[in-house]
């Protein structure tokens, strides 16, 4: 059953861009930026590839919509094809990206932003775009140095920035996973939106907890990292 070797005819087109910065913000975790004048809605994703031979990977934009720099947050996956190479990229190198797309859209409605690990990315984009009014951000990590953008978020969101850490502890952090934090709450507002972003198990567990606490499923928006 023959078929052209090209990856896929239906693939969203990729464009070459030049990397402006590739900054390691925590061990093995980078913010990569390139310049592209493009309109997007905070929360959207882009496809990223180093060449056109391998299928691109999808990353949430983590920069605001008010700058010409588009950034992504990524961590090195040792067994992966893209991220070990991406981590070696420097300013001036080429990268292939798609235009932003997707329907995980931030807005000004009251909402909970719930993330684990680098799943903070779309929420940081929303925050940078001025959408943090009436928001509570719950970020779960396993180690304290994984609270990316902590200083800025802490200063701006105050009590509405809830840090959950499953392995390390300090006085400003809930000791446990995001799911444990949510289960510890007596109730959650039923008229809020709930945005979830992270690995599938967290998203599935949080989604079940929210539904169990009476949140209508239509108000739950999930983005899973594959």
């Amino acid at each position: 059953m023959a078929r052209p070797a090209e990856y896929s005819r239906a693939e969203i087109p990729l464009f070459a861009v030049e990397i402006i910065e590739n900054l390691e913000i925590s061990p093995g975790v980078f913010v990569l930026s390139y310049r592209q004048k493009v309109d997007f809605i905070p929360g959207q994703v882009i496809k990223v590839a180093l060449d056109k031979l391998q299928p691109p990977r999808i990353y949430s934009v983590c920069s605001g919509d008010n700058t010409e720099l588009v950034s992504i947050l990524y961590n090195i996956k040792e067994e992966g094809y893209l991220t070990p190479k991406l981590a070696k990229a420097v300013a001036g190198d080429n990268l292939f990206v798609s235009l932003p797309y997707g329907s995980f859209h931030g807005d000004h409605d009251p909402a909970y932003w719930i993330a684990t690990g680098t799943g903070i990315s779309p929420f940081y984009s929303m925050f940078q775009s001025g959408l943090s009014d009436q928001k509570t951000l719950i970020h779960g990590v396993s180690q304290l140095n994984q609270f990316y953008f902590e200083e800025e978020l802490s200063w701006a969101l105050g009590q509405k920035y809830i840090k959950c850490c499953s392995k390390d502890q300090d006085e400003s952090t809930f000791a446990g996973r995001v799911t444990e934090y949510l289960l510890s709450l007596d109730s959650l507002p039923k008229d809020y939106k709930y945005y979830l972003c992270g690995k599938s198990l967290m998203v599935v567990e949080v989604r079940d907890i929210l539904i169990d606490k009476g949140i209508p499923y239509a108000q739950i928006f999930a983005e899973i990292y594959f």
Binding site: R3, S200, L201, R207, I211
Partner: protein
């Protein structure tokens, strides 16, 4: 203790390599394949056409590699569910569905699943690990119906195209002359549509393809199946349209009906637009609610009407018979319960 490598699940080339590495003739590889995949034995010692020396050499480094089910449930309709233990106290499920002269086995490809579909019980376990080709084929070999299986569907726990290497290797073992020599036309692999893996599967296998569709609308599908962001159904279908499936190979679309969500005339109209130009079949599936999901099944009248409307649009549509409901034959519940029990 040194863990021995397993023979069951190796393809012919690997078995020939095993033979050569032990100083045995290359043709011993073919003999091994015969014993592993064509005869009903359970140990290396039973390989009676190999010399005692060859069997000792094999026993030193390898084990046969079969794994027996730890639990079997039988439904009043004859459907059976097998629970197989895997490494690290995890479990997978296999269903055997008898139907007149057919015995269809539904195999798992992963322990848990990464995809997080709203309606799926397996997703609630998260992703626990990949199955090897041997563990996939073992689900056919180590059940009571070994030797009587007429059809195989890769529709159990896990996303087959997220474990493509093992799935392709298992298909090779099942369909090669040196293996089970089954016709690939009796095997269907079901996927949510991971496009790059689907292309490889279409190139490298002749088995049927089934795609989990569940709604033609982008945003609605995204709510049900988060993978829609990565592989939108329109892209999956566009890719399929580029392939010539010929007369023998079949592509079908799985469509679970959810009350008030994806069971309307609008969905029928959009489905007919989406699938225009593809010779395919839609399998409508009744939803059997699992704990923690807000979804419900529509009534029988709605299901029949939905089927009739699709048929009227010239899309061959069938309603899949529900089987093994009393033992939750298809929802990952048994293994999730077992997993919870081992965690306590």
């Amino acid at each position: 203790m040194v863990l021995k490598d397993q023979l069951f699940g190796k393809d012919l080339e690997e078995l020939q390599q095993v033979s050569l590495s032990l100083g045995l003739p290359k043709f011993t590889g073919k003999q091994l394949a015969d014993w592993l995949y064509k005869k009903n034995i359970h140990s290396i010692d039973e390989m009676s056409n190999l010399s005692k020396n060859a069997r000792d050499l094999l026993n030193e480094k390898y084990e046969f590699g079969l794994s027996a089910p730890s639990k079997i449930q039988t439904s009043i309709d004859g459907t059976k569910k097998y629970l197989f233990p895997t490494a690290l106290n995890k479990f997978i499920e296999t269903a055997m569905i008898p139907d007149e002269d057919r015995k269809t086995v539904c195999v798992s490809t992963q322990v848990g699943c990464k995809m997080g579909c709203l309606f799926c019980m397996t997703g609630k376990q998260g992703f626990q690990g990949q199955l090897t080709a041997g563990e996939i084929v073992n689900q056919i070999r180590s059940i009571d119906e070994n030797g009587e299986v007429s059809n195989i569907v890769y529709m159990g726990m896990g996303e087959p195209f997220d474990n493509l290497e093992a799935v392709l290797k298992s298909l090779k073992i099942l369909t090669s002359d040196w293996g089970y020599a089954m016709s690939p036309r009796r095997i269907t692999v079901s996927s949510i549509g991971i496009i790059p893996a689907m292309i490889r599967f279409l190139n490298e296998s002749d088995a049927h393809l089934a795609i989990s569709l569940h709604t033609p609308f982008d945003e609605e599908r995204r709510k049900l199946m988060p993978v829609q962001i990565a592989y939108p159904i329109a892209e999956v279908v566009n890719e399929i349209k580029g392939w010539d499936f010929g007369r023998q190979r079949r592509v079908s679309f799985e469509y679970i009906l959810f009350k008030g969500l994806n069971d309307t005339a609008y969905h029928v109209r959009e489905l007919s637009k989406l699938l225009a130009g593809i010779k395919c079949r839609i399998n409508l599936i009744r939803f059997h609610p699992v704990p923690g999901t807000p979804l419900e099944s529509p009534d029988e009248e709605t299901i029949t009407m939905f089927k009739d409307l699709l048929n009227a649009k010239d899309i061959t549509t069938t309603i899949r018979a529900s089987r093994g409901q009393d033992i939750y034959a298809a929802c990952g519940l048994l293994s999730t319960k077992e997993l919870s029990a081992t965690k306590q």
